[in-house]
Amino acid sequence: MSALMSEAGTRRVDEKTEVCDALAGVRVVELCESTEQYAGKMLAQLGAEVTLVEPLLGCDSRFEGPYLDSRPHRERSLTFAYLNQGKRSICVDADDAAGQGVIRRLAADADILISSVGPGVMAARGLSNKDLSQINPRLITANISLFGESGPYSDYVGDDLIAMAFGGMLYLGGYPGKAPTAAWGNQALLAAAQFTAVSILVALWDVESTPKNDISGQHLDISVQESVAMALENSAQFFDLEQKIKMRSGGEQRQAGMGVFSCQDGMIYLMAGGIASNRFWNGTVQWLLDEGVEAARVLFDEKWNDQNFLQTEEAKQTFANLFLPFARERTKAYLYGEGQRRRLPICPISTPADLVENRQLSHRGFFQDVLHPFTGRQILMPGAPYRLSQSPWRGGAPAPMLGEHTYEVLVRAGYEPEQLEVLMRQGVIA
């Protein structure tokens, strides 16, 4: 297996320095428009060479806020800047026959092609797995669609919110009695992007460890709805095993001692219970006593070990009446530090501003300055989501400007400059 892997894997590895990226030599053509671009970002930042193929006017995420200086402009989208770090951009009209020819030529020399369109769209473009595997049998194609490419809802339309609704996660978020609320920031599309990235590496492992002639066109069909359904915690099992429907509980304690509590300068989250046990209860009560909340002694009573009692309004009220006055006189930093010193699962409810101040994240150098070439500004962005000791995560070049690499990518793909002039004149590339 190793011999085959190295044959495919050592393309363009820097032999002199011996350092090489985990995904060195992997070429990715990406036709994703929006948040699904996170999959390509994951690949790029471990060393894959990712080329984002954009429509001539730019992909959708260029038209999603927030914008730098809050000035809407396709080169100022911070969403785009974040999702496309480390990639190159070329503009090709994928709905034009000549444009499809360009993409086919890129696919001939690629390992992976990612798209995020409805079922049948890639086939209508002549860019289906079947079409492309004739040119390049080892190409892995992956398509992210809201409901997947088969089944009765495969033609349904929607966005992140609709997938959240159909996938069952939306129902769990929010407050009792009010309209459910979705997770911030397109987490449904992001979930699909993450599962796509994982699945692509499994398919790549498969291709690279299978003899050349035994491979013919691996296609991955990713459903956003199903990706959402992976995040239901235990609620599918709750219905299956106990016929209970889990409800949303925002704005309330999930059980006594578990939830959001206000403090002097913000809010904290406390889990005096922990998962499936009450192992932190006594520690929490002792803390209150140590800080002079004498009345907390009642919480040592036997009944506080009963999970059913903890669910009652009476229990929640009693706990809140003791804990809130205590918390209100203390800062989130104090409560976090002291609670953790006592080995209790307590933490601040961080705002985005708090994250940048977080001393643990600072220690790890989590946030990194990234140049924004259009304005020349340096912008602090989240960095490595994992540390690989030998083949480290790299931020990579700043997100590309629209069509920044059209020329160099297409010349490398074998086009003559004059041919590019013709295609540009036709409005096929830009």
Partner: protein, 406 residues
């Protein structure tokens, strides 16, 4: 052509427990990796004691929460504190490609199974540590769960209505998607790196970090613009209508998004509300955005007369993005998820036929449907010790009598 499980040559010695760690190795196990979960009846994986239980009756082999996170794995019970138990586990580690854990830093070291220890036994090991805050730093030993991670990472703050307390996702979200996918991705990348270079490596995943990575735009709006993003309910896109509206029935809701003039007009036709179409407040996308609060109020008055699933279907038929807000019962009988075989019912020795989730991807020639039910506690102790370490039944009986295999 028969479908392959590409990771079937990969052996993982798995020390993970509870949420994110177990979900990580489930992904790898469903793709064929031989995942041996190291357990102890002394210190149970607390998910084994977490609701829901088959028929509501607690038991270490009855939790659905545990089951779904541990499909396709084998479980052995070993007392790591005994010298013999520790030695057995070392022998397993020596045969492994990957070692995984999600303890706070120092715990594996105390068992003599830290990265440096393991590297001595198996120089090219891929060693995944997924503690909450990473391996070093002032808060490295701080503890928490998915919910508190979501809070530290900023997700909790951002979800819900602006004028209410933050609601979060209602789940331990980082455990379910961000951490397992990022961790599995890192392991797979490291496997490729090893195949290419012969080198293993140490993977340090701080469980708060992937979730922050998924909130990039909110972080950057602050660092670049000084704007602290706030909760927006369901108004994530700058389009209106885009939200969740009441439907008839108790706690029934429909999500609707009409991003342009064409879908807006179709929506009104289906709702039989032509008056809204000529209302100057809602005449074009900009007017609808500016009057979105009034718009949501008006739409709610109408949607409440419809059954959610039926209205969703009707709107979808004409191309309007919409759908019922499905609860767990709806999701389990959802025809689309059924057609995609998302839910897999496996016959567990103690729980009977119970539901598992399959990974959300269909491959043309790779299989990832769970192969086995979650293991009973220590179900495969004998099997693994015989098959992998060549022990005899007599030796196993003796070890068990000495309390090594509990």
């Amino acid at each position: 052509m028969s479908k392959r499980r590409p990771l079937s040559n990969i052996k993982i010695t798995d020390f993970t427990w509870i949420g994110a760690g177990s979900y990580t190795t489930k992904i790898l196990a469903d793709f064929g990796a031989d995942v041996v979960k190291i357990e102890s009846s002394d210190r149970l994986d607390s998910l084994r004691e977490a609701k829901p239980f088959k028929d509501g009756i607690p038991g270490v082999n009855r939790s659905g929460y545990f089951a779904d996170r541990n499909s396709s794995k084998r479980s052995i019970t070993v007392n790591l504190k005994t010298e013999e138990g520790n030695a057995l586990v070392r022998r397993l580690v020596k045969q492994s490609d990957v070692v995984t854990n999600n303890f706070t830093p120092g715990v594996m070291e105390r068992f003599g199974l830290g990265y440096e220890d393991v590297r001595e036994i198996k120089p090219d090991i891929i060693y995944l540590s997924m503690s909450m805050h990473g391996q070093d730093g002032p808060e490295a030993r701080y503890l928490g769960y998915g919910l508190t991670m979501g809070a530290v990472a900023g997700l909790h703050y951002l979800c819900g209505y602006e004028d209410e307390e933050p609601a979060g996702t209602g789940t331990n979200f980082p455990d379910h998607v961000p951490n397992p996918t990022h961790a599995a991705f890192a392991v797979l990348a490291a496997l490729r790196y090893r195949a290419k270079t012969g080198k293993g490596q140490f993977l340090d995943l701080a469980q708060i970090e992937p979730t922050i990575a998924l909130l990039g735009p909110a972080v950057i709006d602050y660092t670049a613009n000084g704007i602290v993003a706030s909760r927006v309910g369901n108004q994530h896109q700058k389009v209106a209508p885009h939200g969740v509206y009441p439907a008839c029935g108790a706690d029934r809701w429909i999500a609707i998004s009409a991003p342009n003039q064409a879908t807006w007009q179709k929506l009104l036709t289906q709702l039989s509300s032509p008056a809204l179409g000529i209302d100057s407040r809602f005449i074009d996308p900009l007017a609808r955005w500016e009057n979105r609060v009034a718009l949501d109020r008006e739409l709610s008055k109408v949607t409440v007369n419809f059954e959610a699933a039926e209205l969703g279907e009707r709107l979808q038929r004409v191309g309007v993005p919409a759908g019922p807000v499905q609860d767990a019962a709806d999701v389990l009988r959802d025809p689309q998820l059924k057609a995609r075989n998302h839910w897999v019912y496996l016959d567990h020795p103690e729980m009977g036929k119970t539901v598992y989730s399959a990974l959300p991807v269909k491959f043309s020639s790779i299989e990832s449907t769970p192969t086995m039910t979650a293991p009973l506690l220590g179900q495969h102790t004998d099997e693994v010790l015989i098959e992998r370490l060549g022990l005899t039944l007599e030796q196993i009986v003796a070890l068990r009598e000495r309390g090594v295999l509990s």
